[in-house]
Amino acid sequence: MLKLPIYLDHNATTPCDPRVVETMIPYFTNNFGNAASRNHPFGWQAEEAVDNARVQVAKLIGADPKEIIFTSGATEADNLAIKGVYEMYASKGNHIITCNIEHKAVLDTCKHIEKEGGEVTYLKVNPDGLIDLKELEAAIKPTTILIAIMYANNEVGTVMPMKEISALAKKNGILVFSDATQAVGKIPVDVNKDGIDLLAMTAHKMYGPKGIGALYVRRKNPRVKVTAQMDGGGHERGMRSGTLNVPGIVGFGKACELAMLEMDTDAKRLSALRDKLENALINIEEAYVNGSRRYRLPHVTNISFKHVEGEGLLMGFNKDIALSSGSACTSASLEPSYVLKALGLGDDLAHSSLRFGLGRFTTEEQIDYTIEAVTKTVNKLREMSPLWEMYKEGIDLSTIEWAHH
């Protein structure tokens, strides 16, 4: 039976897996202890649960449990990694290299660093959404202390060449930080094989609860340290003070354990469904996939439907299908997606994009329904679009003098 509404916005957040919720519940009620309470069973129980979860999280990324610092999510982990390294390694240099399709949590943190007197290079990406390794190498200076490149992008799902990036960094004695929020639990991520020194992740993108995440901080070869951004009781080896969110951590751990077990089957199933969806939709005239189709997460596709506007398109089915668009009209700023623009899309194509993010509970029926609804709405809106009419008449839209606002 087809279940409506259909959720295809798994890059924004994922539902909590019921198995995750189940493991969390006792930690709100009976086992409510503070993991830092050393003198009674309530505390011991909480600490044990946290230790167990730390192992589950670490295992998923090939890390040692001691290298996991729990945070409130990826935004905090991004901040702690970048500001923490910038402050800790100030004597070595003040230059950071990142790229222009990072999440705002990274970009705005870098902007903050610049205000503090740091120097940041924002690498461009090619139309595939990937950085150029030669440009990266050329950007390295004696003062470079950190290369911060996301593992996978949240809008187009493209996956960066992390191994090559870290090899370059190693050669130059520079630390590598990766915001792996979108990748962890979806594709194999291994901090040692990938050569990553710091890595940000969050539970709510992998069927865990919201408000809990982690920063991986390497302890060996090299031993990495970050300056704490939160002062207090010295939790998490002094790097992140604050009473641990025990139920959240337990849920995060369970989500990691499940991801470890089910990632391969999920990925196979979802990439087949994604391909079905994508192939059907690009069959529509003037529809284009954004970003690399080769180096990409298995469950994501981002498609532009030329001459129809994204928000108008969403309105055609958003009672039944939850999706997101790079259109400006869906954002408070009225600016289209900076990620799509960085890939070289014109504003018009950026306005016309939809992001489809499939997930663990997506069914083939839902995909079939989506194909039909999107196709129907694109056709309907094109009948209403002056741009489509001009395109069909063979008018070159770039020759028209538009009344810009």
């Binding site: 994204g310 928000e311 108008g312 018009d348 679009s385 538009w402 009344a403 810009h404 606002h405």
Partner: protein, 139 residues
Amino acid sequence: MAYSEKVIGHYQNPKNVGTLDKSKSNVGTGLVGAPECGDVMRLQIEVDETTGMIKDAKFKTFGCGSAIASSSLATEWLKGKSIDEAAKIDNMEIVEELHLPPVKIHCSVLAEDAIKAAINDYRKKNGMPELKFEESVVH
């Protein structure tokens, strides 16, 4: 953000979608907005030359649901109005009628601009001086 019933109604059943023959002297065409801004609206009026009344109006819009609804509503309001009456349509009337939230006011501004552009195109074609409108401020 949830849409008002009226916006949804116009979106689902837009009134007067289509194209008038822009080469005719009694047809005025207004094309406003830009693809890069995510909104382009084309609004056309056909004027009855004996009575000076707008006898038909059509639109095509590339934009969000509120922009589509604004232009659909505008064409409904235009029909049966004289050119002078049409020139007085204010975007805030559209905002009120459709219950547009503040972030969608610019979609209604676009509709007002399209009406004015169509009127001026008609006037120009028929040897009348173009009307001067104040620059709309909300974009």
